[in-house]
Subunit: 122 residues, 2 copies
Amino acid sequence: MERSPALAALSALAHETRLDIVRFLVPHRAEGAPAGEIARAVKVSASGLSFHLKLLEQAGLVAARREGRQVIYHLDRHRMGTLFHYLLHDCCGGDPEIRDCCFARRAHEGHRTSALVLPPRE
Amino acid sequence: MERSPALAALSALAHETRLDIVRFLVPHRAEGAPAGEIARAVKVSASGLSFHLKLLEQAGLVAARREGRQVIYHLDRHRMGTLFHYLLHDCCGGDPEIRDCCFARRAHEGHRTSALVLPPRE
DNA sequence: TCCATTGTTCAACTACTCATGAAACGTTGA
DNA sequence: TCAACGTTTCATGAGTAGTTGAACAATGGA
């Protein structure tokens, strides 16, 4: 994944509502879900949802298709994985500590030292 | 990682300069690098760098210590891994396709179908 | 004590993001 | 053809992010 698309994807994810949309779409896999259902699930107005979906779509993280009068959105899981891959390997150089911590069953597992562990902020 | 800290961390990463800072700090590991050296490396003004470092620090992704007249910054690699863990497991439910793609040696490896692969945007 | 070095903070400005509500659009079934 | 439904687009305004340059603070050496 090149640089600018990655930034667009990161920006797209850096919003509570859009993260909710992703969370909602993951289990729907390729069949996706219609906009109205997403709007009810994440509790946002129709126009607000459309705004956020467009951002996610421009970032390549979701794709849309029309079915009758509904528009069905699904997550591009490969694109999502590619973004994570970019973060882990291109930005963090595949650093073992980051990688271990990322792949651990639970967070806070898999780190070999606690020297860098900060108290949770905020 | 709880929700708001994760959003702060994502927002912090969603900027070209700050991603450059992270990229520069990864190989410096715990010993870190002084602000001036970072500023030269990522080609940003001193005040600009200070602004971005503060954001990264508030997000818990970097930490600072003073050494003489220099201020040394280092990446919190555990925190970074925790963020990735949150994205992969809490937001994406540990979805196997996303996970495979993320851990592949190179991007675009490890996906079982190309049905969802979008052409690169922009 | 004075001065150069290193970083941070502040103020001012620009540009962008986001929420909201009304209007417009495309699709479907009567 | 028309009304209903689902969704998008548009205009507006508030709030925030980011850049720049000047002023300020902390440190250490002469």
